[in-house]
C-alpha cells in the first residue's frame, strides 16, 4: 500500500508560471484543518452573539446571555453577561443560602446553638471564616494569640470573663487594657521587690526577702496593686485586670524567659513600663448582629468558654 500511496501523491503545481518556467507547488492544507478552521469561525460568531463582544462608542454589544439575580434588598437585577455581575450573583446566592442559618442563629439562645449538632456544624464552618477574616490577624488562625501582644482565646483564663455574654460584650464594644507606668512612682528596688512577689504567686523561683517586701508594697497604697489585681491577686474581670496567681501570661513573656532570673526580669519589665497597648477594636457596626453572635459562639467553642 505504501507504494501506491507514493505514486498517487505527486505534488501538483498551482498552474501559474513566471519567467517562463518558474512554478509554484500547490500543497493544500489538509481538509480536516480547513474544516476545523471554519468551525472556529462559526464558533466565534456564535460567541459574539451570546457574550459581550464589540465595543461601540462608549458602550459595547452586550450579547444575548443575561445574568439575573436577587440582591440583598430583594430587588431583581438583570445585566448582560459579565464577570462582575457573575460574582455579585454568586455572592447573593451564597448569602441567600446562608440566610436560613443566620436567621436561626438570631432566634436561638447561645446555649441552644451550642447544643444543636446542625447549628454547631454551621458555627464551626461559618465562624472559622469570619474569625479568619476579622480576628486571626491578631489572635492567630487558631485563636492561640501571641504572648506579649494578643491574648490566647483557647485557654481557660479570661481577662474580662469567658461566658457567652462577656465574650459578646467584648466583641461588640472592644476592650482597652491599661496599667500605669510604675517606674514613674516606684524606685527600681521596689519594682524588683514587686516582681519577686508576683513570681512567688505562680511558684516561680524568687528571692524570699524581696518577695515579702513586695507583698507589703502590693497590698499598701505605695504601689496599690491590689486596687486592680484584688487583694488575693486573682485579678478583677470587671476591669480586665489579670489573675497573677495562675500560669497564664499575656504581657510578660514568662514561658519563654530563661531561668528564674529571666522570668523575674520579664515581670519587672511590665511593672516598670506599664501597659497601654491592650486594645481590641469594637466590632458593633462593622459586623452584623448575627455575625457577631456566630463569632461569640465560635470563640466560646475554641476551648476556653465558661
Amino acid at each position: 500500500m505504501s507504494e501506491q500511496k507514493l505514486q498517487s501523491q505527486t505534488v501538483q503545481t498551482t498552474g501559474h508560471a513566471w519567467d517562463g518556467d518558474l512554478q509554484e507547488y500547490n500543497n493544500p492544507l489538509p481538509a480536516w484543518w480547513v474544516y476545523t478552521f471554519y468551525v472556529t469561525v462559526v464558533f466565534a460568531i456564535v460567541y459574539w452573539t451570546i457574550y459581550p463582544s464589540w465595543p461601540i462608542g462608549k458602550g459595547w454589544i452586550g450579547g444575548a446571555s443575561n445574568i439575573t439575580y436577587v440582591n440583598s434588598a430583594g430587588e431583581t437585577k438583570t445585566h448582560s453577561w459579565n464577570t462582575r455581575a457573575l460574582l455579585v450573583k454568586d455572592l447573593n446566592e451564597a448569602a441567600a443560602a446562608q440566610k436560613p442559618y443566620f436567621d436561626k442563629v438570631s432566634s436561638m439562645s447561645y446555649e441552644q446553638i451550642a447544643k444543636d449538632p446542625e447549628m454547631n456544624g454551621f458555627i464551626i464552618s461559618a465562624g472559622k471564616s469570619l474569625f479568619a477574616d476579622n480576628c486571626a490577624a491578631c489572635h492567630q488562625s487558631g485563636g492561640q494569640g501571641v504572648v506579649g501582644f494578643f491574648p490566647n482565646l483557647t485557654d481557660d483564663d479570661w481577662l474580662y470573663g469567658g461566658s457567652f455574654d462577656k465574650i459578646h460584650e467584648t466583641l461588640l464594644g472592644g476592650r482597652r487594657g491599661y496599667m500605669p507606668t510604675f517606674s514613674e512612682v516606684l524606685s527600681g528596688e521596689q519594682i524588683d521587690q514587686l516582681a519577686n512577689y508576683v513570681a512567688s504567686l505562680s511558684g516561680i523561683g524568687h528571692d524570699a526577702t524581696k518577695a515579702s517586701a513586695g507583698n507589703v508594697l502590693f497590698h499598701t497604697d505605695t504601689a496599690a496593686c491590689f486596687y486592680c489585681h484584688a487583694v488575693d491577686a486573682k485579678g478583677r474581670k470587671d476591669i480586665g485586670a489579670p489573675n497573677l496567681t495562675d500560669n497564664i501570661w499575656l504581657w510578660a513573656n514568662v514561658p519563654a524567659a530563661q531561668g528564674d532570673a529571666g522570668k523575674v526580669a520579664a515581670i519587672r519589665g511590665v511593672i516598670s513600663g506599664g501597659l497601654n497597648k491592650g486594645v481590641m477594636p469594637a466590632w458593633a457596626g462593622r459586623l452584623s448582629t448575627e455575625q457577631i453572635k456566630v463569632l461569640t459562639v465560635y470563640v466560646h467553642e475554641l476551648g476556653g468558654g465558661q
Binding site: 505504501s2 489538509p30 489573675n243
Partner: protein, 506 residues
C-alpha cells in the same frame, strides 16, 4: 540521509471506506449475544425500580449532588472511593490476564467502540443492503434513492446515539423525571450538554470513524500488543496450509456442492450420507490440489470482506486486527461448503504455527505471567468483596486541631483538642456516643454533646477536648477515642489519636 516513513507517506492518509459483508458462525453468534446483553444492561439498568426510604426509587443511581452512589441495596459514599480504585485495578489486571491468554478479546467482543460500531453496521446493512449493494450505492451519484437510504441510515444512527447519551445521563438522575424534563426543556444544563456531547461522540466514533478509532486513537489496542506471548492464542491464518508450495488458487469446480449444502441446511441440517459425500468429494478435491502443490485457500477474499478493520488477515497478525473472529466464521463457511476441513483461519498461537509438528491449539495457563495475573485478580477481587461486606455502618475521621497543638491551662494542665466527624452510612438515623480509653474519664470534655444523632448519609461534627495534668500528659503519647452507635456496642470503633504536650513536641 534517509527520509522517515512519515515523509514518504505524508502524515495524512485519507480513509478508505470499508463495506463489511455479514457472515454467520460461532463468533458472529457470540458477538450478537454480547451485543444484546450489553445493550439490555446499558439501556435498561437506569429504569429498574428499587424502593428506598429517602432516595429516588432507582436501582442504579449515581447521585452526584447528594454525594452518594446508590447501587441496588448498597450505598457508596465518597469515603468508599477506595472501592473504585479496587475496581479499576481489577479491570486492568483482568485485561492483562485475558490478553496474555487469548489476545485482544476485549477489543473484539466487549469494547464499546466495537459493540456500537457493530450495531451501526447492522443498521447500515438493514437499510442499504449487503456489501455489493452498499458498494454500488456508494459509487452511485446522489440521486433520490441514495439520499433516502443514506439519509435514513444517518438519522437512525443519530437516534441511537441520542438515546445512548440520554441513557448515560439517566444514571445520574431519576430517569423517568429526566425524560419528562428533557423533552419539556426543564432539565439541567448539564443534562443537555452531556447528552449532546455523547450523541455527537457516539455518532462520530461508531458511525463515521469506526476502525480509525482503534487504529489511530485507542491506546488500549496498542499496549495490548506488547502483552502477547508466543503462546498467546490469536486469530491467525495458517499460511503453511493455505499457501502450500504454489500459493492460493481459486476452485472452479465444486460450486454445485455449495448450492447443495445450502439446500440441505434449509431443510434442517445436512443428512449423514450427504455429509459423507461432501467430505469425500472435498477430500478428493483437496488431494488433487495438494498434488499440484496448491494451498487450501481458494482466494475468495471473503475473510477480507467481512473484516471490520479492513485488513487481510492472510498477511499475518497485524496491529489493526481487533480480534473479532469474523474472518474465522467467514473462512469456515467457505471450507464447509467445499467439504474442506475447517480452521484455515483460527485461534492459534504463534509458537504452534511455527512449530514443525502442530498440536491442537490450547490455552496456556501455566505461564508465570498468567499465574501471577490470575493470583492478583483473585486477591484484588477478594479484597474488594471483603471490603464491601465488612464495611462499618459509620465512618469517622478524627483530626487533631493543630493551631495551637496544645494549650497550657492556668493550673498547668495540658489540653489538646480534636474534631471528630462521624458519617452515618446506615439506612436510618443513629445516635453515637464518644468515649476514651487510656486516659482518666474526667479528662474528656465533649462540650454540649454527650451524644450526637445523625441522619442517614449525613455527617456530624463534634469538638472533643482532652486535658491532662502535666505529669500524665508527658507520659501520654497516644490514646483511643471510641465511637459507639447507641444500642450496638459490637459496632463500636476506636481511633488512636496523638496527644501533644510541651515537654514532648512532635
Amino acid at each position: 540521509m534517509q527520509t522517515g516513513l512519515e515523509d514518504q507517506l505524508g502524515l495524512y492518509q485519507k480513509r478508505i471506506p470499508i463495506f463489511t459483508r455479514s457472515v454467520k458462525g460461532r463468533f458472529r453468534r457470540f458477538k450478537t449475544s454480547v451485543l444484546v446483553l450489553a445493550y439490555a444492561m446499558y439501556f435498561l439498568l437506569p429504569w429498574i425500580p428499587w424502593a428506598r426510604l429517602d432516595a429516588p426509587a432507582q436501582a442504579l443511581l449515581f447521585d452526584l449532588p447528594g454525594r452518594q452512589f446508590l447501587i441496588f441495596g448498597l450505598t457508596v459514599y465518597p469515603q468508599n472511593i477506595i472501592w473504585l480504585a479496587f475496581l479499576l485495578i481489577i479491570a486492568a489486571i483482568l485485561l492483562f490476564f485475558v490478553t496474555g491468554l487469548v489476545g485482544r478479546a476485549f477489543c473484539g467482543y466487549f469494547c464499546f467502540q466495537t459493540v456500537w460500531t457493530d450495531f451501526f453496521i447492522w443498521i447500515e446493512k438493514s437499510i442499504q443492503g449487503e456489501r455489493p449493494t452498499r458498494v454500488r450505492l456508494f459509487r452511485q451519484p446522489w440521486d433520490r434513492e441514495k439520499i433516502i437510504k443514506v439519509g435514513s441510515t444517518h438519522a437512525l444512527w443519530l437516534l441511537v446515539s441520542f438515546w445512548t447519551g440520554l441513557s448515560f445521563v439517566a444514571y445520574f438522575t431519576y430517569a423517568p423525571q429526566l425524560v419528562l424534563d428533557f423533552f419539556s426543556g426543564r432539565a439541567a444544563d448539564a443534562a443537555y450538554i452531556t447528552t449532546g456531547l455523547l450523541t455527537l461522540t457516539t455518532y462520530v466514533a461508531a458511525g463515521l470513524m469506526r476502525e480509525q478509532v482503534c487504529t489511530y486513537i485507542c491506546p488500549y489496542g496498542r499496549f495490548q500488543s506488547v502483552m502477547y506471548e508466543p503462546q498467546t492464542l490469536a486469530v491467525h491464518y495458517d499460511a503453511k496450509r493455505g499457501e502450500n508450495v504454489h500459493g492460493r488458487a481459486a476452485v472452479r469446480a465444486g460450486r454445485g456442492i455449495v448450492t447443495e449444502r445450502r439446500h440441505d441446511r434449509a431443510e434442517g441440517g445436512i443428512s449423514a450420507e450427504r455429509r459423507l459425500i461432501n467430505l469425500t468429494t472435498g477430500a478428493r478435491a483437496l488431494a488433487e490440489r495438494h498434488e499440484k502443490g496448491l494451498g487450501d485457500c481458494i482466494d475468495c477474499g471473503l475473510c477480507v470482506q467481512v473484516c471490520p478493520a479492513g485488513i487481510d488477515i492472510r498477511e499475518g497478525l497485524q496491529y489493526r486486527c481487533i480480534s473479532c473472529g469474523l474472518c474465522i466464521d467467514a473462512c469456515n463457511t467457505i471450507m464447509d461448503s467445499f467439504g474442506f476441513p475447517r480452521g484455515l483461519i483460527r485461534y492459534d498461537s504463534e509458537s504452534n504455527l511455527a512449530a514443525a509438528t502442530r498440536t491442537p491449539p490450547r490455552l496456556h495457563w501455566l505461564g508465570l505471567k498468567t499465574l501471577g495475573y490470575g493470583a492478583a485478580l483473585i486477591l484484588m477481587s477478594g479484597l474488594l468483596a471483603y471490603s464491601i461486606s465488612s464495611q462499618d455502618s459509620f465512618d469517622r475521621a478524627v483530626s487533631q486541631i493543630r493551631q495551637p497543638l496544645y494549650v497550657v491551662l492556668s493550673n498547668n494542665d495540658i489540653r489538646n483538642r480534636y474534631q471528630v466527624r462521624i458519617t452515618n452510612k446506615a439506612a436510618q438515623e443513629q445516635t453515637y456516643f464518644i468515649s476514651a480509653t487510656d486516659i482518666p474519664a474526667d479528662a474528656l470534655d465533649l462540650g454540649g454533646f454527650s451524644e450526637i444523632s445523625i441522619k442517614p448519609g449525613h455527617s456530624g461534627l463534634v469538638q472533643v477536648s482532652v486535658h491532662l495534668p502535666p505529669a500524665l500528659a508527658s507520659k501520654t503519647e497516644r490514646f483511643n477515642l471510641v465511637i459507639t452507635p447507641k444500642g450496638k456496642p459490637a459496632e463500636a470503633r476506636s481511633e488512636s489519636v496523638h496527644f501533644d504536650s510541651p515537654n514532648r513536641r512532635p
